[in-house]
């Protein structure tokens, strides 16, 4: 049984704002019967056509899909359109006290419906997706190449979700978007996309700062470990944990496949050189036994 939070259960059993708004200003529809979940979001704006006065939803799907929809309508009420657009799928999951990772695609579906509704209202281009189609697209057809044929998901959409949620494995991408969850034929392509996104993030111009306060230095060390180093280790089934920072001395412990790996000494040198490149020249990395 899924480990749903009390908030998820509450929003599933007592969903807020179920129904239609006949004179809605904005309507966003994503998903299909074939895909196993679908959400239709209705927004009613104030006279200035900026603030969301009312939001309602209709959802076909599992408990977390219904709870995510309910949460979304509660979150957008009273917000203006730009504020609403700033809501991420993680915000929806956080509002619910978290979702099992396998169910994160429900929060993505909510965020997506909101984006579609507002884009359509503003007349921004979103090609209409064919909801009559027997195996219709889960998400409105973003520009780009179709990657997951089972759920109708394009590379543009996948890259966006990978980037926003900092995903590093194909399994995570499936949990967040459903892509690759049926026949599995597109999993190699998903892995390529992850590599692309990670590569692009790494390619951003970054230089070592001239001077650093201790506080800032610690912050940057943590950032580099999270952003640049751990995803590389994950790719090989390994991981590391930051144990302590004492001045320029950084203590790490290797986990999973890296723990006890004969080449963990090399890995420690790699971590050190990366930190020296991006944070400070005098950093020394020490490996603490796992």
């Amino acid at each position: 049984m899924w480990d749903y939070t009390p908030t998820v259960k509450d929003h599933f059993l007592n969903p807020r704002n179920v129904g239609e708004i006949p004179d809605a200003d904005a309507v966003g529809e994503v998903g299909s019967l074939a895909c196993g979940d679908a959400l239709k979001l209705y927004l009613k704006l104030d006279d200035n056509k900026d603030k969301i006065l009312d939001a309602k939803f209709q959802t076909f799907g599992c408990a977390s899909a219904i709870a995510s929809s309910s949460a979304l309508t509660e979150m957008v009420r009273g917000k203006n359109l730009d504020e609403a657009l700033a809501i991420s799928n993680q915000d929806i999951a956080d509002f619910l006290g978290g979702l099992p990772e396998e169910k994160m695609h429900c929060s993505v579906m909510g965020q997506e419906a909101l984006e579609v509704a507002i884009a359509k209202y503003r007349g921004e281009p979103i090609p209409a997706h064919d909801s009559e189609h027997d195996h219709g697209h889960a998400y409105p057809e973003y520009e780009g190449e179709l990657v997951c044929k089972c759920f109708g998901i394009t590379d543009t959409f996948l890259k966006k979700v990978i980037e926003t949620n900092k995903l590093t494995t194909a399994e995570q991408v499936t949990h967040f978007t459903k892509a690759g969850g049926a026949c599995g034929g597109c999993i190699p392509k998903i892995k390529e996309l992850i590599a692309q996104v990670l590569g692009e993030a790494a390619a951003l111009p970054r230089t070592r700062p001239e001077k650093l306060s201790n506080m800032k230095k610690m912050q940057m060390i943590q950032e580099v470990l999270e952003r640049d180093i751990r995803p590389l280790l994950w790719a090989d089934g390994g991981d590391l944990e930051l144990i302590d920072i004492d001045g320029s001395k950084v203590q790490v412990a290797f986990r999973k496949a890296c723990a006890g790996c004969a080449s963990s000494g090399n890995t420690a040198r790699m971590v050190e050189s990366k930190l020296r490149d991006l944070v400070a020249e005098d950093i020394v990395v020490e490996e603490v036994p796992a």
Binding site: M1, V18, L33, G36, F60, A63, T174, G181
Partner: protein, 391 residues
């Protein structure tokens, strides 16, 4: 909250009498049946009795019974053995609707150079015997068809299929995990070579299974390293569970008629009431021959996990063919193989009863189910279109 347990194809309650039978074999009579002293010897006697009881339920003889840890182990052992017995044969036949215990192993074999044919089923879940007849050849090492399907309860003509395999010189295995204890089985007049069963599906505890191996059928062990089970399955016997399974088999024989009358009547009453009380529902495999305790009903335009969660709030335990309950995203491979449309596959609920199911429990489900479906359909964006189309 008192549970209303209608998920007996997932697992069953250990019968109190079964539990009493096994209880002394933990703290008091804990001896090893292989030991050369009276203390082990008295356990040995109970294991012999249990083996006889299992054999009696199957119409088998005691030496044809190998105790294993679970149905999955039995399935794995059966198929592996056949491939070792016939190293020159490189073809395996199974069905598209098998339990993963069989299907996963068969699919893995394709990576080792085997040809694997998965025989399809029709819209009612019935095995395509013509496809099977066309597929089997001299290269076929083993055919493995389930006796009854866990999701729909549809029964396969395993005897007929086994006779065909025999004529072609292939071994025939059946995963009878869902069938044993629910429908009569008589291996004395059968062409089946290998049969798997699982204790926890018939009111014995989890962690005990059986592989039946017909006398004279060549067999290579899966687990080696000990003389137990006549060296056909090494490892110290799970004595308490074996003794429990023996008792459970004895009870299953005793209640077989009840299972096929009283339990079936409850199942029929449940499905008739739900079908007449809820529009746009269909029984998966409804016209095929089925187990007496199982019904799988598809409710259009709603999603299974949502139904289960609402039922669970009321204490009702059932299961679904829905993808969302398993973490995979595709609806059940069984319903997809049957060609059940997507509109139904996502909203299929399986109720599986047992001899412990009561009239009052069935009444509760009959009362509570329609409002849940109505509520979820009202919430669904397809509800309106659906009413427009279907009225």
């Amino acid at each position: 909250m008192k549970e209303i347990y209608l998920d007996n194809n997932a697992t069953t309650k250990v019968d109190e009498a079964v539990f009493e039978e096994m209880r002394p074999y933990f703290c008091e009579l804990y001896g090893n049946p292989s030991s050369m002293h009276f203390f082990g010897g008295q356990v040995q006697g109970k294991v012999v009795e249990a083996r006889n009881r299992v054999a009696a339920l199957l119409g088998a003889s005691a030496e044809e019974i190998i105790f294993t840890a679970c149905g999955t182990e039995s399935d794995n052992a059966a198929i592996r053995s056949a491939l070792e017995v016939f190293p020159e044969k490189r073809h395996v036949i199974t069905s598209r609707v098998e339990h993963p215990a069989v299907l996963t192993q068969c699919r893995n074999l394709t990576q080792r150079g085997y040809r694997v044919t998965e025989i399809g089923v029709d819209g009612e879940g019935r095995l395509d015997m013509e496809e099977y007849k066309a597929a089997i050849d001299d290269d076929t090492a083993i055919v493995s068809f389930m006796w009854a399907n866990n999701e729909t309860g549809v029964i396969f003509p395993v005897e007929e299929a086994a006779a065909l395999a025999k004529a072609k010189g292939a071994l025939f295995h059946t995963d009878a995990v869902q069938a044993v204890g629910k429908i009569p089985i008589n291996m004395a007049v059968s062409s089946i070579d290998l049969l798997s069963l699982s204790g926890h599906k018939l009111h014995a505890p989890k962690g005990i299974g059986v592989l039946y191996v017909r006398r004279g059928t060549p067999f290579r062990p899966f687990l080696v390293g000990g003389h137990q089970e006549k060296s056909r399955r090494a490892g110290t016997e799970n004595t308490a569970a074996i003794i429990a399974l023996g008792k459970a088999c004895e009870l299953a024989a005793k209640y077989m008629e009840l299972e096929n009358n009283q339990v079936k009547a409850l199942r029929d009453r449940l499905q008739d009431a739900l079908m007449s009380g809820i529009p746009h529902a269909r029984i998966n495999g409804g016209t095929a021959e089925r187990l007496p305790n199982t019904t799988s009903i598809a409710f259009e335009f709603v999603e299974g996990e949502s139904i289960l969660m609402h039922l669970s709030e009321l204490g009702v335990c059932a299961s679904s063919g829905s993808a969302c309950t398993s973490g995979s995203l595709e609806p059940s491979h069984v319903l997809r193989a049957m060609g059940v449309p997507f509109t139904c596959a996502h909203g299929s609920i399986r109720f599986s009863l047992s001899r412990f199911t009561t009239d009052a429990e069935i009444d509760t489900v009959i009362r509570e189910m329609p409002p849940i479906i109505t509520l979820l359909r009202k919430m669904s964006p397809f509800g309106r279109e659906f009413l427009k189309v279907k009225g």
